[in-house]
Amino acid sequence: MPHFDRLYNFACWLTHDRQEAEDLVQETYAKALKGFSSFQPGTNFRAWIYRILRNAFLTSRTGLQATATVPLDLDGEAEALPTAKETPESILLQRSDLQLVQKAMEQLPVAYREVLLLCEVEEMSYQEISATLSIPIGTVMSRLSRARQALRVAVREKQGSQPKA
């Protein structure tokens, strides 16, 4: 099960709970095995198995809760970004900030979190993300852009509230 570790990581990010993540991964493998005949050779296998995991999550209690509380305008036109004011310092790469970024990621709405993880961590192409999330590529792009912006804002807020070292 070579992709086991990454599916598990993704599941943890979705559920925020290791036990639930384990259940989710187990369910995913069971469903993948049972539904392997529904996989069309030549199509993207990774997108297929991630889609199974994500659908299992969305129908779980945690998933339903997470998506029920999310505002619906996630994919609207991204507002003009306050670009020029951002400096390279605004997102720091220091190790101490990693936890801060993780905290900020945790607090993003699921729709933002999953698209960020698929793009940055799983390094999926827009095409693959589109297949995994069953949304058009245009939506992948606008959602990614909004997710990144939301993360920037969240990180900056956290940096601002941190006592200066």
Binding site: M1, P2, H3, F4, D5, Y8, N9, C12, W13, R18, A21, E22, V25, Q26, Y29, A30, A32, L33, F36, F45, R46, I49, A80, L81, T83, A84, E86, T87, P88, S90, I91, L92, L93, D97, L98, V101, Q102, M105, L116, L117, C119, E120, V121, E123, S125, Y126, M141, L144, S145, R148, L151, R152
Partner: protein, 249 residues
């Protein structure tokens, strides 16, 4: 403001999803615009940070074993003769997953390598000083590299071929120096890159024929060196030049 138009495309650019022509135009803009370059750097850093921050959870080894057992044990609830095909399917699934990811990974790094070479080739074509040593004489070009790159190679005799050696320059791939030779055939320019295998990494070890950004690419290994032939000339021309280079070895 004109920059807004570029900023909109920055994410797709950094994700490697912008069409080649637009990506070239954008990187051109980034070279001249410090505000956009700073924004680009900031977003790239964010990408990297999220990538690192996102790799956070590793499964318990006991859980892995449990899953493996549950997959294997699943059909035992049914009649035992049913077990074999299901096990076989499970194993086939595992093999498919492994193969898929192995292939995908190597294809991706291979594509990255080839598009990097395509960039180098295009940069050479676009440059006002495309070569550092201008000579069609292989006995001038080869010695020119002595002391400039940490290896040596042979150049083919081109007298009875349609190819003309235009010149050469030192090129870099993954921070390692190598040779870039520029040949002309009719109106087409072809770059031949020669790097040490370790500069290329063990990512691409097989001979390959492919196209990148509609350039034709040929690649092979010889005596610890990795050769790449890239250009917009026809596939036959590239094959011919490759054969000449191989013969000169």
């Amino acid at each position: 403001m004109a920059c807004d138009r570029w900023i909109e495309k920055l994410d797709a650019y950094l994700d490697g999803e912008l069409p080649a022509s637009e990506a070239r135009a954008l990187s051109e803009h980034l070279r001249g615009c410090s505000a956009c370059a700073a924004e680009s750097l900031s977003r790239l850093q964010q990408k990297r940070t999220v990538q690192t921050a996102g790799q956070r959870f590793t499964p318990d080894p006991a859980f892995r074993v449990r899953i493996q057992e549950s997959i294997a044990a699943r059909p035992s609830a049914r009649r035992s003769w049913f077990r074999l095909p299901v096990l076989a399917t499970a194993m086939a699934l595992v093999v498919v997953i492994t193969l898929f990811f192995a292939l995908n990974r190597s294809r991706r790094s291979e594509q990255q390598l080839v598009s990097e070479l395509a960039d180098l080739h295009v940069a050479t074509l676009a440059s006002s000083n495309p070569v550092d040593v201008v000579s069609s004489d292989r006995h001038t070009v080869k010695p020119w590299f002595a002391g400039r790159i940490p290896f040596t190679f042979n150049l083919p005799e081109l007298q009875d071929s349609p190819f003309v050696l235009v010149g050469a320059k030192v090129s870099y791939l993954n921070q390692a120096p190598g040779a870039e030779l520029i040949f002309r055939v009719r109106q087409h320019q072809i770059s031949v890159f020669i790097f040490q295998e370790r500069a290329v990494g063990n990512l691409q070890t097989r001979d390959s024929v492919q196209t990148a950004l509609s350039f034709n690419v040929r690649s092979w290994s010889l005596n610890g060196l990795r050769y790449f032939v890239i250009g917009d000339a026809s596939a036959q021309d590239l094959d011919k030049l490759s054969d000449l280079m191989k013969a000169a070895g």
